[in-house]
Symmetry: C2
Subunit: 205 residues, 2 copies
């Protein structure tokens, strides 16, 4: 994706998603200017409409997951709601189809644990929330879980650590799809101190 | 507010609000556990319902501003939408009433520029987004604008720098209303590297 066309992001939300897992990356993506090729976000859920987050406030889904034909970046946040969905075969089938139809799948926090339940992460390196790392490892033993990493890229899968790590990963994705200077400009616009080195993990498990 | 009762947060949104200005602080607040006294958030707007952010995705307002009788922390995000509202006398009167009825008013990014338009910041020290600091200063010449500060506390007004600075300020407010250890625990849960020193401003104007 070297051409400068608009990046299409699809972000999946569900009851009990973590606010910053979703809106941290969407803020960084949203700060890409038109002259930087721009970016369009669609928030997806089982159906369109308001969806309650783990901390309380609701986000809005613009469209149903089934109506999306895949995107450049499929963003999967974490949150307490992942616990139920990991055992929901209908939801997992929807998520798997979307992931297969998308160019990059990017997860934040326990979003990787949820995504691993589709089986697509098996045999891949990945990371997740560091406070519940044992539980994550146990839930998907066929994934090569990395205990010290702010984010991990393995093929089309990019998984990040807990909550705030999603913003560092989002800037990495901007650098990957555009260039490093663009990512640095976006970080400055957001007055965000980018942890640019994925091996620097202040919260390693 | 030394007693350990639930902290009531009211967060004002409007068309063109910046996502992270709002959801960064609400994530930190939302990570306060029940045993830490807890916190309840109500998202407010001119009326209840979905409200489109500057980067695109919509947030949901739970209630109308006029139906709120004040709160412990009134949170005012920034965003491109502040430009119009700064000249909207009806909105400013609503915001002023809410601010006067609340114990703490906390702003993020150009939220301070919007709030200053009520006149309540006149004679107070405050800060704001650093990329448009000249414009902020010009828009409210009777405020003592501080060009180098991650956030500024002056009486009941706490104003923070651009976008990401709201998360540092939110952790400061948790430390203020609870204690420093609670704020450090919340930061760790969010895997967030807290800039705890308000005088350390990597983006000073």
């Amino acid at each position: 994706m070297t051409e400068n066309r608009t990046i299409q992001v699809g972000a999946v939300i569900f009851e009990g998603f973590e606010l910053l897992d979703l809106y941290g990356p969407l803020e960084m993506f949203g700060m890409l200017g038109e002259t930087e090729g721009g970016l369009a976000t669609t928030v997806l859920s089982t159906k369109a409409g308001p969806v309650k987050s783990a901390p309380g406030p609701s986000g809005m889904a613009d469209a149903a997951m089934d109506d999306c034909e895949g995107c450049d970046i499929l963003l999967i946040p974490g949150g307490i709601g992942t616990r139920l969905l990991m055992r929901d075969a209908v939801f997992l089938a929807r998520l798997k189809r979307l992931a297969e139809a998308s160019k990059i799948v990017a997860t934040v926090c326990t979003g990787s644990m949820l995504f691993a339940a589709t089986g697509l992460l098996d045999g891949h390196r990945a990371t997740s929330n560091k406070l519940i790392f044992k539980q994550v490892r146990k839930s998907a033993p066929n994934v090569e879980w990395i205990p010290s990493a702010r984010w991990v890229e393995d093929g089309k899968y990019v998984t990040s650590s807990g909550v705030s790590a999603g913003m560092d990963m989002a800037l990495f994705l901007i650098a990957k799809l555009r260039d490093r200077n663009t990512a640095l400009r976006v970080a400055r616009r957001a007055e965000y101190v980018w942890n640019e080195d994925p091996s620097r993990d202040p919260f390693a498990a």
